[in-house]
């Protein structure tokens, strides 16, 4: 059971890592002007909800298997993801809005956020890996 939970988390985590890398690549494409804001944002917005679900899944898995430490580690990220989606203004086209992304350093903050998430997921990845091996 334990092993199954961790292996599932591991897979989930891999997916999240890929997603974070994808976000970073797409954002840096935008930064370098390889793609335009519209295309970039519609690409990214498509993956905002899957990311949220993936993160929530990992969090819930940890909760049901009563791994409190890992759960608490995951909880803030999951909460942040939901908050982000929830606070999108009605007139915006999603978390990533092509008309705003170049304003107020949003591009940079999105980039930073993705980087931090990548780091976090890598950390989780090793925790899950270690745990599943230990089990």
């Amino acid at each position: 059971m334990e092993a199954a939970v961790f292996i599932l988390s591991l897979v989930d985590c891999c997916a999240l890592i890929f997603l974070a890398v994808y976000f970073i690549i797409t954002l840096s494409d935008l930064e370098c002007d390889y793609i335009n804001a519209r295309a970039c944002c519609s690409k990214l917005n498509r993956w905002v909800v899957p990311e949220l679900v993936g993160q929530a899944l990992a969090t819930v898995l940890m909760l049901v298997s009563l791994h409190w430490f890992v759960f608490l580690l995951n909880l803030p990220v999951a909460t942040w993801n939901m908050y982000r989606v929830w606070k999108v203004p009605m007139g915006n086209m999603g978390v990533f809005d092509p008309t705003e992304i170049h304003n107020r350093g949003q591009l940079k903050s999105h980039m930073k956020e993705s980087m931090i998430k990548l780091g976090f997921h890598l950390l989780c990845f090793f925790i899950y890996l270690y745990s599943s091996v230990c089990v």
Binding site: L30, E31, D33, N36, A37, R38, P89, M90, G91, N92, M93, P98, T99, I101, H102, N103, R104, G105, L107
Partner: protein
């Protein structure tokens, strides 16, 4: 000197290049020769020709010499030829004297100056930033004229094509006329000014001020001018106080003797004595000459079209600058910007004329070719070296642009290769450095590029080997005719689509008559060529298309009632060639108002109509003009009323400033992708949710017009306004499928954009349409330290298709010095630009956060910057609220913003009015925004011709601007308030009966009607003066301000009084209270 040169560029260059892209003769000519032919007058050499007397005079003025010579052009042969604006003077001058063939390029007259400048500049290293004040001074004197120049000719520039119609001869004649004027004016001016600058500085050393330290060069420079005239005395106080300590006591005493009455004023001020009794010298009306000098350094650019006055003043000023007065001019020099003003004690802060932008402290030769501040303006005319320095100053750094402004003089260059930097793609501009004849160094990325062969030939002088004299390198603003590399597809024709709301509500307002009538009248004036296309769509609950195909006997209406899935009934014949089908179009326009006269349909499907418009235009791109009178209620994009009128005044925070749906934004982005722009005319009496509807224009680079309570019978003033605006709208210049890129020197980057457009990539704005009335703003951040740079440059390049189907690039380049001390940053602060940028930022903030947040942010901006000034720049702490003179209006403007329709709280403001005000703050160019923020109040019952302007044979009186306080209103006067989009004429109860009869044509006060929007055309001098003045105010802007005559009982009195910014209202602080609040925060 600078003037002449400038005039040469502007004036002489102008005629051939008059800006109407379409009619421009030059454009049609073959690149090389045609260009030359026209340009002959433009030749810089010629322009300089008249200057000979200059050199002699220049001896006294170290700065004057530089301009002509130091410009890089002189140095083509010099490998060393560096042209950094600030420091490199030494390098420039030596080359000249040593230059192998100076004679060939430089008239002897000019050759002389260099040595002089060389001496002065030797010390440049020390100067760096410190040098700025002295440098600044001369430019400040010299610069205004250049700025003033353009205004001299702007006459016709509102009409799209009219400017270009000016015949070459006419303008060249004009040009020729101008130089002499300038000479007279300027030359006397130059020497005294610089003299003073120096004397002033000379005294400075005594004071141990922070400023002085950096200026180690100062003593040296001053030496030549050693014998300070009597005027010297006054200066110390001026310089002293801001920085100083020891001197002030000395100052006042010494001054008192030799100086004119006002002079003592400043010193005392600094000493913290009571000023109220001693208004600052420059405000003192008692000394007109002084006033004149004072004014113009700051004046020229605030009011885009108003230049003539500053210019005239300028010419007057110098003449009056006799030695005895020379002392006064000190105040106009850069240190003046830092003179400490105690806001709590100084009541009368408004300058006599318009507020003028500071002049960047660049060497005069660079400054005189710098971009005109109306077109390109920076909040800080001295760029801080590092972001941390900028953060310390607490002032926003940003640019305000008006790139497609109607210009009366615009050089147009036709050439098969457009010279650009190979790495950053910057267009070659006056601020690049020529390393030698064959290589130039980009001023933005510092890459060294080759000069192409073709560029070696100078069509102006028809000579070879003078790349630095090409017009590209002589003009900071110019236009290229783009070759085919700049086209992704063949240039599109001008395409106009009119989308009209014909629901019951719309027909009721009677706007259809006005629109159709205006179109009929202006159908031949629509910008375009033989390919111009036009189409019409009307909508209520269904969408109606009009088949106007040639051969039909009358227009055919096609109704599409399936609004869920809109389609085009006959895709080919809905958009027709205007010339071929003009008859049918006119038929349609004549019958349209009647067609829907009896309609009972109240629903309105705006969303589907816009989708249809987008489909219709997506193949070509073009302009959609949407006329809408109510909340869209059907189909996609339907909106619900979100406003609760009862909450308007009481609500803690204003809700619903952001769009309710993303439909309009998405559609706007689709439009933007297909080069379609949507202009929105909102004529409504109830809530229309402009916050949502506005998105359609905002992201497709359209414009928004809003006429609240529009009704044909009930609101005749609104109708007139709509008519006039529509005329301007239909006939103004237009650019299609445009993009604008804003480049800046390495190390700087753009942080945020404000205006109507879609930001396609980090520095590229997509503008499906660009119109001459659109302004833009950007916020900048400093990403890398600018340590080794003396100056930075900004370049805005606008690539567009003219209505004649030509691809053109309009390039503006601005160069600004880099400084490393807070005091220099403050000295270069441009209070109007800062206010406008803050307003744009506050609009963003109120949409993303909340209105109260935005209000706090604005208040804090003024508190923070004044705190920073107090703690970091002032060395002596005095009581009171101290501000540098250049920012003395800052708290007032912030208070005005807080009371502006967009941001005010506590008073009942309709949500649409508020949102529209916000749109305008972001979209209007600076000059109009300033009037909307801080209206101008004039007393008009005693207009005289004294100091009047002469514009095209009309005499326009120039009354003084009054403070916006009821205290200034007197019952026996009449006052005119110019609030940008509306003008109020307030009649006092005991108003001079003469004024009533002679101007208003009314027997007495009681006869003043409650609704009066016109001044009768009476044949009296008073009436003529008043009408000339009002007419002149109106001419200066592209929209039509309504005139309301107001008396005590008028319903509009409340809105008039709301503009009395300095007074207290139930919900807002008075100016004095606001200052006390700031002071409290500052001294914490």
């Amino acid at each position: 000197m600078s003037n002449t040169d400038f005039s040469s560029q502007n004036g002489a260059g102008g005629p051939p290049y008059a800006n109407g892209p379409s009619q421009n003769p030059v454009a049609l000519q073959p690149p090389g020769p045609g260009y030359m032919a026209h340009q002959t007058p433009y030749n810089p050499m010629q322009a300089k020709g008249p200057m000979p007397p200059g050199p002699g005079l220049y001896n006294s003025g170290p700065y004057q010499p530089i301009p002509p010579v130091s410009s890089n052009q002189a140095l083509p042969g010099q490998p060393m030829l560096k042209r950094p604006p600030m420091g490199p003077q030494h390098s420039m001058t030596p080359p000249q004297s040593a230059s192998p063939n100076p004679g060939s390029r430089i008239p002897p007259a000019h050759a002389t100056p260099p040595p002089v400048s060389a001496n002065n500049y030797q010390h440049a290293p020390a100067w760096q930033y410190g040098g700025t004040p002295p440098m600044g001074a001369p430019p400040s004197m010299g610069a205004p004229p250049p700025m003033a120049m353009p205004p001299l000719r702007p006459v016709g520039n509102h009409m799209t094509s009219s400017p270009s119609l000016a015949t070459p001869q006419a303008s060249s004649a004009e040009y020729r006329a101008t130089p002499p004027v300038f000479h007279n004016a300027m030359q006397p001016l130059g020497p005294p000014t610089s003299l003073q600058g120096y004397t002033q500085q000379g005294s400075a050393p005594l004071l141990m001020n922070p400023m002085a330290a950096p200026h180690s060069y100062q003593p040296v420079m001053r030496a030549p001018y050693g014998g300070p005239p009597p005027s010297v005395r006054p200066t110390p106080p001026t310089t002293g106080p801001p920085m100083g300590n020891a001197s002030p006591p000395l100052g006042p005493k010494t001054d008192a003797g030799p100086l004119p009455p006002q002079q003592p004023g400043p010193p005392t001020r600094h000493m913290g004595l009571s000023y109220p009794s001693l208004p600052p010298g420059y405000q003192n009306t008692s000394a007109p000459p002084n006033a004149a000098t004072m004014q113009h350094p700051v004046q020229p650019s605030t009011q885009p079209y108003s230049h003539p006055p500053p210019y005239q003043q300028l010419s007057a000023g110098p003449a009056q600058l006799s030695p005895s007065l020379s002392g006064l001019s000190l105040q106009s020099q850069t240190p003046e910007a830092l003179r400490v003003v105690n806001l709590l004690q100084e009541r009368n802060l408004l300058p006599l004329g318009p507020v003028t932008p500071p002049t960047p402290c660049l060497p005069q030769d660079l400054q005189k070719i710098n971009c005109h501040p109306e077109v390109f303006r920076s909040t800080l005319t001295s760029i801080p070296q590092t972001q941390s320095l900028l953060n310390k100053a607490k002032l926003p750094l940003g640019l305000l642009l008006h790139p497609f402004k109607d210009l009366s003089q615009l050089p147009v260059v036709t050439s098969s290769t457009i010279v650009r930097c190979r790495s950053c793609r910057t267009y070659i501009n006056p601020f690049v450095t020529f390393l030698d004849q064959r290589r130039w160094k980009c001023n933005l990325c510092y890459r060294v590029n080759d000069v192409p062969e073709e560029f070696m030939y100078n069509p102006v002088s028809r000579s070879y080997g003078e790349p630095h004299k090409r017009p590209e390198v002589q003009n900071a603003t110019l236009e290229f005719i783009a070759p085919s590399e700049y086209m992704l597809r063949p240039p599109q024709p001008a395409v106009y689509l009119i989308v009209l709301d014909v629901s019951h509500n719309a027909v009721e307002t009677g706007y259809l008559d006005v629109v159709c009538q205006s179109l009929l009248e202006n159908i031949n004036a629509l910008p375009g060529d033989s390919r111009t296309k036009i189409g019409f769509i009307t909508f209520d609950s269904t969408i109606h298309f009009y088949n106007l195909q040639e051969g039909l006997s009358q227009p055919q209406m096609l109704i599409v009632s399936d609004i869920e899935d809109i389609f085009l009934p006959t895709p080919d014949s809905l958009l027709v060639n205007l010339n071929e089908c003009k008859e049918l179009v006119q038929d349609l326009l004549r019958s349209l108002p009647q067609m829907f006269g009896k309609t009972m349909e109240t629903q309105c499907a705006l969303g589907p109509a816009l989708q249809a418009a987008f489909k219709l235009l997506s193949a070509t791109g073009g302009r959609v003009s949407v006329f809408q009178t109510q909340l869209p209620s059907l189909g996609v994009g339907a909106l619900k009323s979100r406003e609760d009128p009862n909450q308007r005044a009481s609500a803690k925070d204003i809700q619903h400033l952001s769009p309710a749906t993303d439909f309009y934004k998405k559609l706007a982005l689709d439009c933007s992708g297909q080069q379609v722009a949507v202009d929105l005319f909102l004529l409504s009496s109830q809530y229309c949710d402009l916050a949502s509807l506005g998105c359609i224009s905002r992201y497709s680079a359209g414009s928004v017009y809003y006429y609240p309570s529009y009704h044909q019978q009930h609101n005749p003033a609104g109708v007139e306004c709509f008519q006039k605006d529509l005329k301007r709208y239909l006939t103004r210049k237009i650019g299609f499928e445009a993009v604008m890129r804003i480049r800046c020197s390495k190390g700087l980057s753009i942080h945020t954009f404000h205006g109507n457009f879609f930001v396609r990539s980090t520095d590229l704005l997509s503008l499906p349409n660009v119109n001459p009335d659109a302004g833009f703003a950007v916020q900048m951040s400093i990403e890398e330290n600018l340590v080794d740079m003396q100056s930075v440059s900004f370049q805005a390049a606008l690539l567009y298709t003219s209505s004649k189907g030509e691809r053109r690039i309009r390039v503006h380049t601005m160069c600004l010095p880099v400084v490393n001390s807070l005091s220099d940053i403050f000295a270069g602060a441009d209070v109007q630009a800062i206010t406008c940028l803050l307003a744009s930022m506050a609009v963003d903030r109120s949409v993303t956060a909340s209105l109260s947040d935005a209000r706090d942010a604005m208040t804090n901006a003024s508190i923070d910057s004044l705190t920073s000034f107090r703690t970091s720049v002032l060395t002596i702490q005095q009581p009171g609220l101290l501000a540098p003179a250049c920012l003395r209006l800052f708290p007032l403007y912030i208070l005005a913003l807080l009371k502006q329709k967009a941001f005010r709280t506590g008073t009942s403001t309709r949500l649409d009015d508020r949102v529209f005000a916000m749109c305008q703050l972001k979209y209007q160019p600076l000059a109009y925004v300033m009037l909307m923020i801080h209206p101008a109040l004039y007393r008009v019952d005693d207009l005289t011709d004294e100091g009047a302007l002469n514009v095209s044979e009309r005499t326009i009186p120039q009354p003084r601007v009054q403070q916006l306080s009821v205290e200034k209103l007197s019952r026996d006067g009449a006052f005119l308030m110019d609030a940008g989009s509306v003008i109020y004429l307030w009649i006092g109860r005991n108003c001079n009966p003469n004024f009533l009869t002679q101007v208003l044509g009314l027997p007495n006060y009681a006869a003043v009607p409650l609704n009066m929007n016109m001044l009768p055309e009476l044949d009296t001098a008073e009436s003529q003066r008043t009408r000339a003045f009002v007419g002149w105010l109106r001419e200066q802007r592209p929209f039509f301000p309504i005139l309301h005559v107001i008396r005590d009982e008028s319903p509009l009195k409340a809105s008039f009084l709301q503009n009395m910014i300095e007074d207290r209202t139930e919900s807002a602080l008075s100016y004095y209270e606001f200052l006390l609040h700031i002071q409290q925060q500052v001294s914490k």
